[in-house]
């Protein structure tokens, strides 16, 4: 296991991402931030917290999106996925939507997320923020707009993001999966 980002580095990265968002979205009122279940939720909550601090705004629209029913591998994956909650207490038609997930790898999750999103309305624009971009491993033409950290990996490796609230520490690590 190799640490890609330790606690301090992770905090700096999150700060930078939040500032980039403020830079690009002068009008935060039209922004709707949506974390992808399950592992995009922690990241989106952190980003929203920092955004509120630096803009002194109390209300930023923030939701959760479950993409289980939109996956393209319902029958091919060994285990059927148990769905999580979708919670979007606001409309997305005509809004600037920011999708957030922790790691971007093949791009298939984001494809499903966009399909799921479109079922809720027609956003004016959809952007993608990821903490870690695993380069050169995309299976679909999907690129992020905001990237925390870029890493080159091979198939047998896995990028894991740990969150204080959930896993007891803040860290991004590269794990070598035991070859089966």
């Amino acid at each position: 296991m190799k640490t890609l980002l330790n606690e301090t580095q992770l905090e700096l990265t999150l700060q930078r991402l939040a500032h980039q968002l403020v830079e690009n979205h002068t009008d935060l009122a039209s922004l709707a931030i949506i974390g992808i279940q399950p592992r995009g939720i922690q990241l989106s909550e952190r980003i929203v917290r920092i955004l509120k601090k630096i803009t002194r705004k109390k209300n930023i629209d923030h939701g959760k999106l479950d993409i289980t029913f939109y996956r393209d591998d319902v029958h091919t994956s060994a285990d059927i996925q148990v769905p999580s909650q979708t919670d979007m207490p606001f409309g997305i038609s005509g809004r600037n939507v920011l999708l957030i997930d922790d790691v971007l790898y093949t791009g298939r999750t984001i494809r499903s997320a966009m399909d799921a999103l479109i079922d809720f309305g027609r956003p004016a624009k959809v952007e993608l923020l990821v903490l870690v971009d695993r380069r050169f491993s995309r299976e679909l033409p999907i690129q992020p707009d905001y990237v925390g950290y870029t890493v080159d990996t091979i198939l047998t490796q896995k990028v894991k993001v740990y969150w204080q609230e959930k896993d007891g520490k803040d860290e991004v690590a590269l794990i070598d999966k035991p070859s089966a």
Binding site: D66, F69, Y70, H75, I80, S84, Q85
Partner: protein, 309 residues
């Protein structure tokens, strides 16, 4: 993940299976509130609804559930088909399956028909009612609707009233509620309560008022005249007098009892309109609404069990 490949009866399910179905149904219920009430998870699946017995609610509910999962649907009903020319059950189903159908939802008048079929074909089977045996999705949606109204069913008192003998809903309900830790009482005239039913872990009560005294939910069943080949009570009027649920009787008990009915209702026989249409008591339409979400959950979870060809 479910422990079974088919949903034949509640008897075969574990308590965890039931929990998983409920949790998945919560999500589908949410999907059904959206402007676009559809998800594409089963767009590569074809489901055949094979009904050898009449049905409106169940068939419509299954069909909607399948369509809202994005599946392709074919419907078959026995009347006007080759069944009347003498085709056997296995032949009928094998012919349908050779048209590349992945899943079968079946209702049949013979108890055990889905188990028989499960031994002979590869597709996943959902039992939509077999004779007087089981009707698993009805029991699941009943328990789900109860839970929605009164919370966790552990320790709650549920009374099932009416034609226990001929009701597959009763049997599936008993299995399901027992697994969820509820206390079940069955009530009805002695001629409509099977012998030895107490061995399933239920209380038997012949006096309706006594049966309702401590109960939280009353599930009122339909009198199934079409299955009664010899008279089991003298007149419908007499049955309504002793076992019909009406407002005056419920008022006299002085407790809030949630009223359920799997439909179709014989109004004025087992259930009076003043109760059936009372939104404070009756959750009959909630049952129908939840039926779609429960069936979506069952079909979705079983589709993961499909063998990859």
């Amino acid at each position: 993940m479910l422990s079974v490949k088919h949903l034949l009866g509640i008897r075969d399910l574990t308590t965890e299976d039931i929990g998983l179905i409920f949790k998945t149904a919560d999500n589908f219920k949410q999907v059904l509130q959206r402007p676009i009430k559809k998800v594409p998870s089963l767009r590569d699946t074809t489901v055949a609804n094979i009904f050898f017995e009449n049905s409106t609610r169940t068939r419509l509910s299954f069909e909607l559930a399948e369509k809202r999962l994005g599946a392709d649907v074919v419907n078959f009903s026995a009347s006007g088909s080759s069944v009347s020319k003498g085709e056997t059950l296995i032949d009928t189903v094998k012919n349908i399956l050779s048209m590349k159908v992945d899943m079968v939802v079946m209702r049949h008048s013979a108890s055990g028909a889905p188990w028989f079929l499960a031994n002979h074909i590869n597709a996943s089977i959902v039992n939509a009612g077999d004779g007087t045996n089981e009707h698993p999705t009805q029991a699941l949606l009943d328990a789900y609707s109860m839970r929605e109204r009164i919370g966790d069913l552990r320790g709650k008192n549920i009374t099932i009233i009416g034609d226990i003998m001929h009701s597959r809903v009763a049997l599936s309900n008993i299995y399901c509620l027992n697994k969820l830790g509820a206390r079940v009482t069955v009530a009805g005239p002695p001629t409509l309560i099977p012998k030895h039913i107490a061995t399933l872990g239920v209380k038997v009560e012949y006096d309706l008022k006594k049966a309702l005294e401590n109960c939280d939910v009353a599930n009122v069943l339909r009198i199934q005249l079409e299955r009664q080949h010899k008279p089991l009570f003298s007149t419908l009027r007499e049955y309504a007098l002793y076992y019909g649920v009406n407002r005056d009787m419920l008022d006299s008990l002085g407790r809030d009892i949630v009223i359920m009915h799997p439909g179709p209702i014989n109004r004025g026989v087992e259930l009076n309109s003043d109760v059936a249409d009372d939104p404070n008591r009756s959750i009959i339409l909630d049952q129908v609404e939840n039926g779609v979400a429960i069936r979506m959950a069952v079909i979705y979870l079983l589709s993961g069990k499909r063998e990859i060809e």
